[in-house]
């Protein structure tokens, strides 16, 4: 559903890449979480994927459409919840929803709610019921709580039945209770609609329910896999190998009884243990390698690790 290959973004006048050659894929129906501290490049990535920002290089396809060549088709197939709420405070909830429906060409324009097609009005009633805001639907957004605004945005973004729903730190700025409410609501929505969901967050606990977690730090992917795999990943040192002849490399590692796991982009990851140093492993391999990387947890990783432990401790 989403394919990202060697995506790079460097902002104008910036010295370093905000997103530095990342690759990943998301399958239909998957719940994918992009995890990372502030400034890791999460919003940059989501902005590029939703066509609001041009990439510097790399290729991205969403629902089969290229984000640069075919941006209009991409936009039709995605729904987005931005980090900052993008509701018009001066309009009512219904007017915000109607504006969205008209932008996506779902209904013809009519000067007022009463004159809109019956189908539309029924849909709005249905949504209001789901959110429990039948009375407030015709009141200005200004009077809504933060959590309610977020829920309304989710409802609004699903009205055109997107194939992928993007959420950029949707719980930021909400109090714990509203956060939990929103989270439960989101889980329910996902189950009911089966929409592929792409979420960014800096809370590790929000990645617990994900099918795949991708940890981003300083624009690079530092870990990738199921939540369990990622958690164990954050505390280990490992090597990343790649070879022209991947089969030969795999075979050789097997023969040497060196345990390895697949890494992003078809590369191979070899965890390091106290008894076996990177130097020893490198010396024993004869297959010509094209990529050799060592990975040592940085401070940022440790920060994430601690965050993870705290999340685990409270359960």
């Amino acid at each position: 559903m989403i394919e990202v290959r060697d995506l790079v973004k460097r902002y104008r006048k910036a010295e370093v890449n905000a997103v530095d050659s990342i690759s990943f894929a998301v399958s239909p129906g998957e719940f994918f979480v992009l995890l990372g501290p502030n400034g890791a490049g999460k919003t940059t990535t989501i902005s590029i994927l939703t066509t609001t920002l041009s990439p510097s290089s790399g290729a991205v396809r969403i629902a089969g459409h290229d984000i640069v060549q075919d941006s209009s088709a991409v936009r039709r197939n995605v729904g987005i919840i931005f980090q900052k709420p993008s509701l018009d405070q001066n309009l009512t909830a219904e007017e915000n929803v109607r504006f969205h429906a008209l932008l996506y060409g779902l209904y013809p324009w009519r000067p007022s709610y009463r004159l809109m097609p019956r189908d539309y009005r029924e849909r709005v009633n249905e949504l209001a019921e789901v959110l429990g805001i039948q009375k407030e639907m015709f009141k200005p957004i200004k009077t809504f709580s933060g959590g309610m605004k977020r829920k309304l945005e989710i409802v609004r973004s699903l009205i055109h039945r997107p194939r992928v729903l993007f959420l950029d730190e949707p719980t930021t700025g909400l109090d714990p209770e509203a956060r939990r409410g929103l989270w439960e609501y989101l889980g329910e929505m996902r189950k009911r609609s089966g929409t592929t969901t792409f979420l960014t967050t800096h809370y590790l606990e929000e990645a617990e329910d994900a099918d795949t977690v991708c940890v981003l730090n300083k624009g690079r992917i530092v870990s990738y896999g199921t939540p369990a795999a990622v958690k164990s990943d954050l505390v280990e040192d490992y090597l990343v190998f790649d070879a022209e002849d991947r089969a030969a490399l795999a075979l050789e590692l097997q023969q040497l009884a060196i345990s390895s796991v697949p890494f992003e982009g078809g590369q191979t990851k070899v965890p390091l243990h106290p008894g076996r140093t990177a130097h020893q492993i490198l010396r024993s391999i004869h297959t010509p390698l094209t990529v050799i990387q060592t990975h040592t947890p940085t401070l940022e990783d440790a920060y994430l690790e601690i965050l993870g432990r705290e999340a685990g401790a409270t359960e």
Binding site: I80, K84, S86, L91, Y104, Y107
Partner: protein, 260 residues
């Protein structure tokens, strides 16, 4: 394309609804032009009216109405910057609607807002005795629409690369003030020295003002003294400018949004 028409109307409707919800804005937007017509037009007519050989009140009135529509529509486009600051523009720019349709929707919305202001000025004109006959009133509609649309497109072009409301307001003051004189809003520009003639012809407002005067002075003995060019000429220039401003402005605005 049919879905874009709905989107354009929705975007325009939103700006209009916001005006209706803000009565203070309606009231304040009347004050300035009414002061201008009443004070400036009245005093000029009393002191200079006889010597120039035509009614100065009407002359000023026609200038002010074109200028108000043009400027109000252009400045209204600052709401595009507001939308960006309040993060609402994201909602529009991630939709599958063509970028030109989004910008056109904004121009149309601010045109509607400016027309409300125009209506108030016309009513005021009737009260103070500006001769507005029924045929003039009818011809006023397309001339006003043209002034608003041109102003809106001009606004987009100016705003395309401005990041904040503050910057936009400063630049607008700087750009509009000279045009008051170059376009002949309340001073005759039949004869100008060459160094003013050039910028005057470059001022888009000049053509909106002249079109408005065509409407008011058509068939009157003062016509040749007041009007600079035929309505067809003015309309042709305005249409060309509108298209150019709109295309270049949208391109620059979208580029500024995406290429950061």
């Amino acid at each position: 394309m049919t879905s874009d028409i709905g989107a354009i109307l929705a975007i325009a409707n939103r700006d209009f609804v916001k005006l209706l919800r803000d009565p203070m804005r309606i009231v304040t937007s009347f004050v300035f032009p009414i002061f201008f017509v009443g004070l400036l037009g009245g005093s000029l007519q009393a002191n200079l009216g006889d010597s120039v050989g035509y009614n100065f009140l009407t002359f000023t009135f026609t200038g002010i109405i074109a200028q108000t529509l043009f400027q109000s529509s252009a400045q209204g486009l600052i709401s595009l910057v507001d939308d960006r600051e309040s993060d609402f523009s994201q909602e529009m720019f991630v939709s599958p609607v063509s970028r030109y349709s989004i910008i056109f929707g904004k121009i149309l919305g601010e045109t509607l807002v400016a027309l409300v202001q125009g209506l108030a000025i016309v009513l005021f004109g009737l009260v103070i005795g500006v001769p507005i006959t029924l045929p003039i009133l009818v011809a006023l509609i397309p001339a006003s629409l043209a002034a608003c649309l041109l102003g809106g497109a001009f606004g987009v072009l100016i705003l395309a690369n401005l990041g904040s409301r503050r910057a936009a307001e400063q630049v607008f003051t700087f750009i509009f003030f000279p045009q008051f004189f170059l376009a002949g809003v309340f001073s005759p520009i039949q004869v100008l020295p060459w160094y003013l003639e050039i910028p005057s012809r470059l001022s888009p407002l000049r053509y909106a003002v002249d079109l408005m005067r065509n409407v008011f002075y058509a068939g009157s003995p003062e016509y040749p003294k007041v009007v600079l060019a035929s309505p067809a000429f003015n309309l042709a220039i305005m249409a060309a400018l509108f298209t150019g401003f709109m295309v270049v402005g949208t391109f620059l605005f979208v580029r500024g949004e995406r290429n950061r």
